[in-house]
Symmetry: C2
Subunit: 283 residues, 2 copies
């Protein structure tokens, strides 16, 4: 399979990464995407870094088997703690996998936040694991180019279940959001990184509660950077966008949430196992 | 290993089952308990029945390897959809496993609810999977003994993350509980089954919102029935209570939540894998 026909792999702990896929399909409408959601083990956000690394490698192995030219790690938690694990794993495979780019959502969003912020006072919200990793703050300081930054982070573990319950603007959601955001508002941030794939669904509420704060959607930033990398690698053979959806568990709420996250109707996903015995023979 | 020295195995998708273990240790203080929490894959409550059955069998295999005389399935979701899977699995193992009793939390709680309710108007709250299975309603109708029942169920998926956030009595939690319970209150239930291991932690709030409704804690009912079964099997060789804690992932919040759920300080858990390659050779 040559580079221009190789698909782009996208993976996430669940289906939240479809908010990232939405932006990827917008900026690269002619690509073939393979999306893997590890819905049998979602969420990763409250697990130990060690377990997240194990799961991430299993997802990467699945996508490597599909000979993707790029892996987009849509999951903030995996991007925060396991990007190097995946890059190292691909080098051990050799062959075309040495030419597989890996991009996470942290660095693109960190770059966007640093360039968006005027005051340098930046907030980050995410899962417990993402916030505990401090990955956004580390990335922002690395690329700050001398700009003075004051970074304020807050784990918001209730946002994901609220979104999955469809409660994006109830009184309870508003109270919880106020509670989570209070310390960030007190710090007078002017930019907020939405460091979890589910959070863009809460954008209207967040805009209302923080009207003067710029929201950074990691999916949008990552899609733009991913498109640059793919452009650099390929200049021919474009074909119609298509998306193959794989999940490790098909749950009743899948269709409803997938439409909401992706912003368009989706085909039924294919359920797969990440056990290499079921696919690695043809690698 | 003879029957009276064989331990009692307790398993749950995570650490919520410690609320069941708490009651088990109260009624059987002289037993040796092995607790397994599948924290690497928690929660089971939003997964498909098929996936829950696979995970349940893997947990049962781990406990069978420890030669338990009884398996207490503390997880409502597993009890609802996979009890028969576990019973069947044990028969395939033969040997002492043929003498391993299996008890879930559904039947004991259903019996308690039917006998507690005066009006026969009973509410059930639980995870999406438990409620979708209709297991409580089916069990209550089976054992109703002609008593007329009107059963009203409601999935409350936000209760678990609220408890794990430690928000057991915030304004937001109260609003969410009011929203979830409104249809049950409107149905004038006199008894409510707390069909999830995390929910007993919300007892004070639930009592306040439904002052005339009897709450059925599945852990308490199950412990009483489990003690009867163990008594029947064993009449000698009692020894001091001890608890071995195993989890598939050690997460930062473990200690805090474990103390809250179990009602006493706990030792650090041992992290294990459920891959039989790591333990089944000695079976």
């Amino acid at each position: 399979m040559t580079s221009h026909t190789r698909p782009i792999g996208v993976f996430d702990s669940g289906i939240g990464g479809l908010t990232v896929l939405k932006h990827l399909t917008k900026v690269m409408p002619d690509e073939h995407f393979i999306y893997l959601g590890d819905t049998a083990r979602v969420p990763y956000g409250n697990r130990s870094a060690d377990t997240v690394r194990t799961y991430a490698q299993e997802c990467a192995r699945f996508l490597a088997h599909h000979n993707v030219k790029m892996m987009v790690v849509a999951c903030n938690t995996v991007s925060a703690v396991a990007l190097d694990t995946i890059e190292h794993y691909l080098t051990t495979l050799g062959g075309t996998h040495n030419r597989t780019s890996v991009i996470g959502v942290i660095d693109p969003a960190a770059r966007a936040a640093v360039s968006t912020s005027v005051s340098g006072r930046i907030g980050v919200i995410g899962t417990r694991a993402t916030i505990a990793s401090d990955a956004y703050a580390i990335a922002m300081r690395r690329i700050s180019n001398g700009k003075e930054l004051s970074i304020h982070s807050r784990a918001c573990p209730l946002f994901v279940p609220l979104v999955e319950e469809g409660w994006t603007d109830t009184r309870a959601t508003r109270l919880i959001a106020e509670e989570y955001l209070r310390p960030l508002i007190a710090q007078e941030i002017d930019t907020l990184v939405l460091g979890c794939t589910h959070y863009p669904v809460l954008t209207p509420l967040l805009n209302e509660l923080m009207p003067n704060v710029a929201l950074v959607d990691c999916g949008a930033c990552t899609a733009v950077e991913a498109a640059h990398i793919v452009d650099a690698q390929q200049s021919e053979g474009l074909h119609r966008t298509n998306i193959d959806l794989y999940v490790t568990d098909i749950t009743p709420a899948f269709g409803m949430l997938a439409r909401q996250f992706l912003g368009m109707p989706v085909d039924d996903p294919v359920r797969v196992t990440l056990d290499p015995a079921h696919f690695e023979t043809s690698l």
